[in-house]
């Protein structure tokens, strides 16, 4: 067989595999022993949403505390810079070989660590950039520190907090794919299983589904964010 003929043959069979994968019922609904796209999508949403909730629960209070502290800015920038250089795959594998083991837990822990920087930096900046005269006026009206935080600073920081949550959510969705390597399920499993069994119909089907959902999530959250901006006013985002 000439090399050209071989190449066309391989390409045709890949196309065939992809169409077979997309049109077969078991890829969407699963068959005994293997999860279908809908089950994996559910897992993916669950892992991302759980991680996002934990990240917000840790990140937003942490950032409000740091905003009160004089050296807070230094801590925030070092968190952001060091998190950017730590390999997320490495941390997941490290947690998986450690006492935690394989499954959802190492994935969620790693995901939370890497989703913290955008939420912390944006919340921090949002609170810090509230006009000092505004907070002074609030104190002058007899508000306690807690009231100033809850009724003045946090509401004014909402546009930036929303930006942080959007950046974190998009990043979580993408990183949750990698989590399939440590056996947490999710859409990434289409890629890991397809790659391990050399079934490229499943790999490319998974790649397309993951890419479309990731880009769709990014676009829809940006739309949602422009609604928040219209409601609470515009603010410059902090990239992290």
């Amino acid at each position: 067989m000439s090399p050209d003929l071989l190449a066309t043959h391989v390409n045709n069979s890949t196309w065939h595999q992809i169409t077979t994968w997309f049109t077969s019922r078991s890829s969407w609904f699963g068959s005994d022993g293997s999860a279908g796209v809908f089950r994996l999508l559910y897992q993916h949403v669950w892992i991302s949403a759980l991680s996002l909730a934990i990240t917000c629960a840790i990140g937003i209070p942490l950032a409000t505390l740091l905003a009160r502290w004089r050296r807070g800015g230094l801590v925030v920038t070092s968190i952001a810079n060091s998190a950017r250089s730590i390999p997320v795959v490495g941390v997941m594998l490290l947690l998986a070989v450690g006492p935690i083991g394989i499954g959802t837990e190492p994935a969620v822990i790693a995901l939370v660590i890497f989703a913290l920087p955008p939420i912390v930096t944006n919340t921090y900046t949002g609170i810090r950039e509230v006009d000092a005269e505004t907070t002074r006026a609030a104190v002058g009206m007899g508000m306690t520190r807690m009231q100033v935080l809850r009724q003045v600073e946090l509401p004014l920081a909402i546009p930036l907090i929303a930006t942080g949550i959007r950046l974190a959510a998009v990043q979580l969705w993408a990183t949750a794919t990698i989590a399939a390597i440590v056996g947490s399920g999710g859409l990434g499993q289409l890629i890991t299983v397809g790659y391990a069994t050399q079934y490229y119909g499943e790999v490319y089907g998974g790649v397309m589904i993951i890419a479309v959902t990731a880009i769709g999530l990014d676009a829809s959250l940006q739309g949602l964010q422009s609604l928040v901006r219209r409601r609470y006013g515009a603010a410059l985002p902090v990239q992290a």
Partner: protein, 228 residues
């Protein structure tokens, strides 16, 4: 002396960190570092090769600008595992499997920073150059690009640091660098190897960041003292 039936060596120490491991495996570490640095440089260089004309093109029309920026953001949203594995069937064990995805990811940072840098170039400097009779291409290469250099270098630093982190995923598809070692350590459950190469990735990123900061200072002497 260990005899064939003696399995005590299975319980040999596997600490989370060991200086002895580093000295005993210095050759392997150097080779992995070399591969990691090469892949990073190739990816960022390829990204830069595309980013400069893309940024120049984006400045021509408003719709081109938003099209190019949105395209870069969309590509960046694709998870690295998906992108890299998708390349395997096309390039197999060729390094392009990892270089193309990483170059594509670097575009979002590079194009945005080059654009910002070019936007900040003062119109007066360009007018002066035009008055001296420089052609548009020469103005771009001799006036606009050097004046945009501080912002471009800041983008380059970000791109290099995040690429160093991203190269690790290449280990999943048989590419070299620290990623290969990290995945190898995972399959052999070697704690020492795993932590060593994770720390090396972080150290390499920090070193590259520092080195590029020095280069930025040297390349733009007129900006010394200005905090960028």
């Amino acid at each position: 002396m260990r005899l064939p039936g003696d399995f005590t060596f299975h319980k040999q120490a596997d600490p989370w960190l060991s200086w002895h491991y580093i000295t005993a495996n210095a050759h392997a570490i150097l080779a992995a570092t070399h591969a990691h640095v090469t892949l990073t440089l190739e990816s960022v260089a390829l990204g830069l090769l595309f980013a400069v004309p893309m940024a120049a093109l984006a400045r021509q029309r408003a719709w081109l600008r938003s099209l190019i920026l949105n395209l870069c953001t969309a590509v960046y949203a694709i998870p690295s595992l998906a992108f890299v594995v998708a390349m395997v069937k096309i390039f197999e064990l060729n390094r392009l499997t990892i270089v193309i995805p990483l170059a594509s990811y670097s575009l979002v940072i590079l194009v945005r920073n080059i654009l910002t840098g070019l936007d900040e170039v003062s119109g007066e400097a360009v007018d002066a150059a035009r008055g001296m009779g420089l052609s548009n291409l020469r103005i771009f290469l001799l006036v606009r690009l050097p004046m945009a250099l501080p912002t471009i270098m800041a983008g380059l630093r970000l791109a290099v640091v995040s690429t160093i982190e991203l190269v690790v995923i290449g280990g999943y598809v048989g590419q070299g660098g620290y990623g290969a070692k990290i995945f190898e350590a995972f399959s052999t459950r070697s704690h020492t190897e795993l932590t060593t190469y994770i720390l090396l990735t972080v150290l390499l990123a920090l070193a590259a960041d520092g080195l590029l900061l020095v280069a930025q200072r040297l390349l733009t002497p007129w900006r010394r003292g200005v905090t960028a």
